[in-house]
């Protein structure tokens, strides 16, 4: 039986008192607990920061392969350390080993993509599974060969936050500050490469160098997070905060800031919960916290969240329906004045409740007046109805005469696209059409 994760020591099988909670959250609950909380918070911040770039460069799953590929490195470092006169379990040695095979894995992915006909997904999967398989083989070699002190190595797979020491916390602090500094210094270059790498190359920024910088930072975060959350879950700390932050903003610096914030918050909350409650492995609680923040962001964020998007769409649909009705009314004023509204509804197959609401809305906006079920357009209502009808006709004409160059992203059904046109475009269209008719 392998211990997975491992709770932070001090947690007992009892709900924590308020005093304990306050002390833990304000970092006054003993040296070990505090250094674990500070360490994971810093790790979260660093991972969130780097993860933002990894997400924009679409390297999320490369990071996954990288972290799996660290396992053989850890094992080789463990096996090789004694012959180099080093203690096999010393963290720096294991971390260097991890970094070497991690980078080797990424190099292999790059070679597979560029030198063979295999695609990125297959290349990532191959490196991930074969390197990890090698790690498992080496792990079994170590477990059968060495004496009891070897057993700890598989903690790197699931992580063991409890084993974090003060020097680990300092390492994470240094890495956090370092990666923040690099990201700030290279913000312009990195953002150019992230959004338009061919343009970046044209302006003299070597995209490969920026990718290497991002990769280097990912390696740094991955290796330093092995101890705390383990090599399977560290990728979550790189991906999830950035993916959550993406829902909130379209601006890069905000994305980076938010991603770091979400990462830090997950680290802080996760390790605090783990310290306060029994049997709550910190690594998984941190990732679950991040996952909850992701879900909340996905649904609630005002910029790109699911609810906000649905609301916006509904509003547009409503406006379009309003305009349609105005247009019908406008056309009917010319052909058959005094026709009851319900007739129009039947003709166009609009459900009656929706139709009543629509008519009410137009009434409130002052576009129509109602008497005995007959709608009359007001002055502004008929002006707007005329404009919608004219747009409609213009666009129809545009599609007929210029269909070959009509933008492909608009909806081809004529009923919809009229709402896309702004006044400026309409004027241009009018000129165009006048020319094409002449």
């Amino acid at each position: 039986m392998t211990t997975t994760g491992g709770s932070i020591p001090g947690a007992v099988d009892m709900p924590p008192t308020i005093d304990e909670i306050v002390r833990t959250l304000t970092l006054q609950a003993g040296f070990n607990t505090t250094s674990v909380i500070v360490g994971t918070t810093l790790l979260g911040i660093a991972a969130g920061l780097i993860g933002a770039f990894a997400l924009l460069r679409k390297r999320s799953l490369t990071a996954d392969a990288l972290s799996h590929a660290t396992l053989p490195g850890i094992c080789i470092a463990f096996l090789a350390a004694p012959s180099l006169g080093l203690a096999p379990r010393s963290m720096p040695v294991l971390m260097i080993g991890a970094a070497i095979t991690g980078v080797l894995g990424v190099v292999c992915i790059h070679l597979l993509i560029t030198k063979t006909r295999l695609r990125e997904d297959a290349s990532i999967g191959i490196v991930l599974s074969v390197f990890f398989g090698l790690g498992v083989v080496l792990l079994s070699v170590i477990q059968t060969n060495a004496s009891g002190n070897a057993a700890g190595l598989n903690h790197f797979i699931y992580g063991q936050t409890a084993a974090m020491t003060r020097s680990d916390t300092i390492t994470m602090g240094v890495i956090g500050v370092f990666s923040a500094a690099v990201a700030l210094l290279l913000l312009k270059e990195l953002s150019l490469v992230c959004f338009n790498d061919s343009f970046a190359r044209a302006t003299g920024i070597p995209a490969w160098l920026m990718d290497t910088v991002i990769l280097g930072l990912i390696v740094l975060v991955t290796v330093s997070g092995l101890q705390a959350v383990g090599l399977i879950l560290i990728v979550a700390m790189l991906i999830i905060p950035a993916a959550s932050a993406r829902f909130w903003t379209e601006r890069l610096w905000k994305l980076i800031l938010l991603s770091a914030l979400i990462g830090g918050a997950s680290g802080y909350a996760g390790s605090s919960v783990s310290a306060l409650l029994p049997r709550k492995p910190a690594g998984s609680v941190i990732v679950l916290t991040a996952g909850a923040l992701f879900a909340a962001s996905m649904f609630l964020a005002p910029a790109r969240g699911v609810l906000a998007t649905a609301l916006r769409r509904a509003r547009i649909r409503w406006r379009i329906a309003n305009d349609h009705l105005l247009e019908y009314l406008f056309e009917n004023t010319n052909t058959s004045p005094g026709r009851p509204l319900s007739d129009i509804a039947d003709e166009h197959g609009i459900p009656s409740l929706r139709f009543k609401l629509l008519a009410k809305a137009l009434q409130i906006r002052g576009f129509i007046t109602m008497s005995n079920g007959v709608a009359t357009l007001t002055h502004i209502g008929s002006a707007r109805g005329a404009r919608v009808a004219r747009n409609h006709a213009l666009w129809e004409q545009y599609l007929i005469t210029h269909a070959d160059i009509a933008p492909s992203h608009v909806d081809w059904s004529v009923d919809q696209v009229e709402h896309v046109l702004d006044d400026e475009l309409v004027r241009r269209l009018e000129r165009l059409l006048a020319e094409s008719r002449a």
Partner: protein, 432 residues
């Protein structure tokens, strides 16, 4: 029955059989994942089955295979659906969506594992990763004579995991044979597939269900890491060797077979000097051999391999160097100036194949060399004419393009394609 045979049957047959079946089952289905560029779905699914397994364990109280299968299968389907949901609703990049979902589910699994009694019993997180192949021999005590071995009693002893894997492999083969056409067309062109009345997304979902089932059936014996390796490596190996769907599947099956059998033997017979006890983790070794087979293929594949491509490039560059030498000599001859190129490898080759002779250090074309050179010059000048007359390029822009086109094997233009003759007033050599 000899001791050797009995030892093999008693100790190695069951673990090896499990490995081979898991590799076959995943390796076959993997073809469609690799072709659809969804190799990492296997990775996501096999990580994300953990919470389902633990929940099934917590509910069932013991290791109950039916519960476990249901739990893992349910969480596999949940994974597929959630990834789709995050991609569609949240407009998240596919890689990131996958990463978010499987890591959160895996974390949930690790979290649940620490609750309740799961920790104390033999539901082991590392077993999920690298399986428990060796334990398959534990309750397997076959008879030691062939007559007794080949009886019904032996069948009853075969571990449940083997039956599960056998069933799953059979089901995968049936699925792939029955839906061969549908799977192929929906992988290559979902648009055409839909136009022909084959629902591409339904086929896609069905494939995911099979991948999930294969992962669940395999993980208990071989662990998720071998599942991921076998879903991708054999199919990738075949991808480098063939361009046809049928042979792709056959080759991938062979690669899966090779990786599992080879990996098992290597793991069971590791050198005693390196490994105390002479055995290492079999599932890990199979994954490694899968990778080794792939690397060998990358190097040695007859058409797409590194060696083959290097040889091909070398041949081509030699031919081009030779053709350039011949045309240089042709032009020198046309201008009436002797040519003194020497020391180039192409010169030596041209001499030895009798295309060029040297007199007092000056090179000249032999009769055969002249014929070859005329043909190339003819192609060059006709291409130049064609580029100006038909493609509308400016006369001073066409030389460099024609310099490339003259080496092509494909048919070159003739006089009707370039009615104005050579752009620089030179004669076009007649066709031989």
């Amino acid at each position: 029955m000899s001791d050797l045979a009995y030892g093999f049957i008693a100790l190695d047959l069951m673990p090896m059989l499990a490995g081979v079946l898991a590799a076959l089952c995943c390796g076959l289905l993997g073809n469609h994942l690799v072709l659809r560029q969804q190799s990492l779905m296997g990775d996501a699914i096999s990580h994300a089955v953990l919470p389902g397994l633990v929940l099934a364990f917590l509910v069932g109280g013991t290791i109950n295979p039916a519960y476990m299968f249901l739990g893992a299968g349910a969480s596999a389907i949940v994974t597929v659906v959630l990834i789709q949901l995050v991609r569609r609703l949240g407009r998240v990049e596919p890689g990131a969506a996958m990463g978010v979902i499987f890591s959160v589910l895996f974390a949930l699994g690790v979290f649940l594992l620490e609750q309740g009694n799961a920790r104390a019993v033999d539901l082991d997180a590392s077993c999920v990763l690298y399986g428990n192949l060796e334990s398959l021999s534990l309750h397997w005590t076959p008879a030691d004579t062939w007559d007794a071995f080949l009886s019904k009693a032996t069948l009853e002893q075969i571990p449940r995991q083997i039956w599960t894997l056998l069933g799953m492999t059979g089901a995968s083969i049936v699925f792939m044979v029955l839906f061969f056409k549908e799977l192929r067309i929906s992988a290559f062109d979902p648009g055409i597939s839909t136009a022909q009345g084959i629902n591409a997304s339904a086929i896609q979902f069905l494939l995911m269900v099979f991948v999930a089932a294969a992962a669940v059936a395999s993980f208990e014996a071989v662990g998720s890491i071998l599942v991921i390796a076998m879903l991708i490596c054999p199919a990738a190996t075949a991808r480098l060797l063939t361009d046809r769907m049928g042979s792709q599947i056959l080759v991938s099956a062979l690669a899966a077979l090779g990786a599992s059998v080879g990996g098992y033997f290597l793991s069971a017979n590791a050198p005693e000097s390196l490994v105390h006890g002479g055995s290492v983790n079999a599932a890990g070794m199979m994954a490694v051999i899968g990778g080794v087979l792939l690397v060998l293929t990358i190097i040695a594949s007859p058409r797409h391999g590194i060696v083959a491509r290097a040889v091909h490039r070398q041949k081509l560059s030699r031919r081009i160097a030779m053709e350039d030498l011949l045309t240089t000599l042709y032009r020198a001859r046309e201008a009436g100036a002797p040519h003194h190129a020497s020391g180039m490898p192409a010169v030596a080759r041209a001499k030895s194949s009798g295309l060029v002779t040297a007199k007092n250090g000056a090179l000249s074309l032999t009769e055969r060399g002249l014929a070859d050179a005329s043909a190339i010059i003819r192609r060059h000048r006709l291409w130049e004419g064609y580029l100006v007359d038909r493609a509308g390029l400016l006369p001073d822009h066409v030389h460099a393009v024609a310099e490339t086109l003259e080496h092509l094997d494909s048919p070159s233009p003739n006089e009707t394609d370039a009615p104005h003759g050579d752009q620089h007033g030179k004669p076009i050599p007649p066709a031989s």
